[in-house]
């Protein structure tokens, strides 16, 4: 049901020949919400017909057969608009003489054609440009201090003010690798947008989709409750909050602990893996060495210790109470539930609230504990 403004067909040109490990392509084959085959087979109502061109999943044997559509796109000869997906860091090809760092196919002279040349030709014609994974978004692991290639993220290369033919900035979906469903959801948004059904994709100032990266790891972590109680893991055996053993979750924008890695399973700090900030522009250098306590955590961790100890004591009491059943659940030959078939009950009124609500009152706790065999 595309509106007039929308298109019927879209090519997805996916080049993983940046300085990558192809881990984002592999990761996306794990997506189920939606699955890549659902998109290719047109099983999502409302999206345009998708022609996927990805080296790993392509039918062709490779070479010119595979490259044809890329050449057509570069010459502006594709009949339908295309989304350009770039995977891997973009090297600096201005420092290495006649050599190259990474290439995709060959130039007319038979020398390898650097990825940078492809980007120069394709990006200005693309309906949208998506950087998948932290290498393509911000440079990532290969842009670490001491590297020889001078590599960077796609927006560093194209310019942060770059706009595609549809007026969209580079769309960044970081993650090392990308969380599978995060990417597929972003792609689906863009496909709906191409169909004229979605408005402009909401991106934050680091060009990430807001609904995926708009909170911190810690804000979604199921171990954050330990932090609040000032109760920390001191090595990796412990299932408690890991900020003292290297977790950067409190300051990292990512939804993985909340979403899980796939099908809700796995993740990072939620399953015992410290957050190393792999979605962030500052990754990896600003988070290294990974296994040391982040400097900020020493301060906030100590402050919360006193508060946490007190809160733990209070919660321990309430928790004991809540762990005891109300006293009217018994097998004595009489009913003590307060049963009365008529309401309101005149005798009830003046007593006021809670007079006989034994189970939730602290002063009854002791007697209940004494009387209940469960607590011995």
């Amino acid at each position: 049901m595309a509106t007039k403004s929308g298109v019927e067909e879209v090519h997805v040109l996916w080049i993983s020949e940046g300085m990558s490990c192809d881990g984002d392509t592999v990761s996306v084959t794990a997506a189920e919400q939606p699955a890549i085959e659902d998109v290719v087979l047109g099983l999502i109502p409302g999206i345009p017909k998708v022609h996927l061109h990805n080296k790993v999943l392509d039918y062709s044997l490779g070479g010119e057969d595979y490259l044809r559509v890329f050449h057509q796109a570069a010459r502006g000869e594709l009949a339908a608009p295309f989304v350009l997906v770039i995977e891997g860091s973009i090297p600096n090809e201005r420092i290495n003489g006649e050599g190259f760092w990474t290439s995709f196919g060959n130039r007319a002279d038979g020398q390898p054609k650097p990825i940078n040349d492809w980007i120069d030709e394709l990006a200005p014609r693309a309906w949208a440009v998506v950087a998948i994974g932290t290498c393509a978004t911000y440079g990532g692991i290969h842009a670490m201090a001491g590297n020889a290639t001078g590599c960077m993220g796609l927006a560093d290369y194209l310019g942060w003010d770059f706009r595609s033919t549809a007026g969209i900035p580079v769309v960044n979906v970081p993650g090392c690798p990308v969380q599978p469903d995060n990417f597929m959801e972003t792609l689906t948004w863009l496909l709906y947008q191409a169909a004229g059904l979605n408005p402009m994709i909401p991106l934050d100032q680091e060009l990430r989709p807001t609904w995926l990266f708009g909170k911190t790891v810690h804000e979604g972590c199921d171990r954050a409750g330990y932090y609040e109680q000032g109760d920390f893991a001191l090595d990796y055996n412990s299932p408690k909050c890991q900020v003292k053993v290297g977790c950067w979750g409190p300051v990292v924008n990512c939804n993985v602990p909340k979403r899980g890695w796939m099908a809700g399973i796995g993740g990072c700090p939620n399953v015992g893996g410290i957050c190393i900030g792999c979605t962030m522009p500052g990754f990896p250098d600003k988070f290294m060495p990974f296994m040391d306590e982040p400097p900020g955590a020493a301060l906030s961790g100590n402050v919360i210790r006193t508060y946490g100890r007190m809160i733990r004591a209070l919660r321990a009491m309430t928790n004991d109470t809540m762990n005891a059943e109300p006293r009217w659940r018994h097998n004595r030959p009489e009913l003590t539930t307060g049963y009365n078939p008529r309401w309101p009950h005149p005798r009830d009124e003046p007593a006021g609230r809670g007079a006989t609500v034994a189970p939730i009152r602290a002063r009854d706790r002791a007697s209940e504990l004494a009387g209940d065999p469960k607590f011995h």
């Binding site: 900035p169 408005p199 402009m200 994709i201 909401p202 991106l203 934050d204 100032q205 060009l207 807001t210 609904w211 995926l212 990266f213 708009g214 909170k215 911190t216 804000e219 979604g220 409190p250 300051v251 924008n253 939804n255 909340k258 109300p326 006293r327 009217w328 004595r332 030959p333 009489e334 009913l335 003590t336 539930t337 307060g338 049963y339 009365n340 078939p341 309401w343 009950h345 009830d348 007593a351 609230r353 809670g354 007079a355 006989t356 609500v357 034994a358 189970p359």
Partner: protein, 84 residues
């Protein structure tokens, strides 16, 4: 101890509680309370929204307490959709 009473064949002893014990007490905060929509991260678009649309929209602060302003969409044409 009071002798058990019989209500239509049911043997009723001294009640341990009363049926209305778990009901609301005035003064305690309720999640449904009017005015709560003014919390951080939400705003009203004014009195005349389109039919079939509510008047409440969200900002990034709905979902994060860390640098929320930097998490708002940069393009005014985009809807503001912070995470769950």
């Amino acid at each position: 101890m009071k002798r058990p009473r019989i209500f239509a064949n049911l043997r009723v002893g001294k009640p341990d509680t009363k049926p209305s014990a778990p009901s609301h007490v005035r003064g305690i905060r309720g999640g449904n309370q009017v005015g709560a929509a003014d919390q951080v991260g939400f705003y009203s678009t004014g009195p005349a929204p389109r039919r079939g649309v509510s008047d409440i929209k969200a900002t990034a602060a709905r979902s994060t307490g860390i640098n929320p302003r930097a998490r708002n969409p940069i393009d005014p044409r985009s809807p503001n959709l912070p995470p769950a």
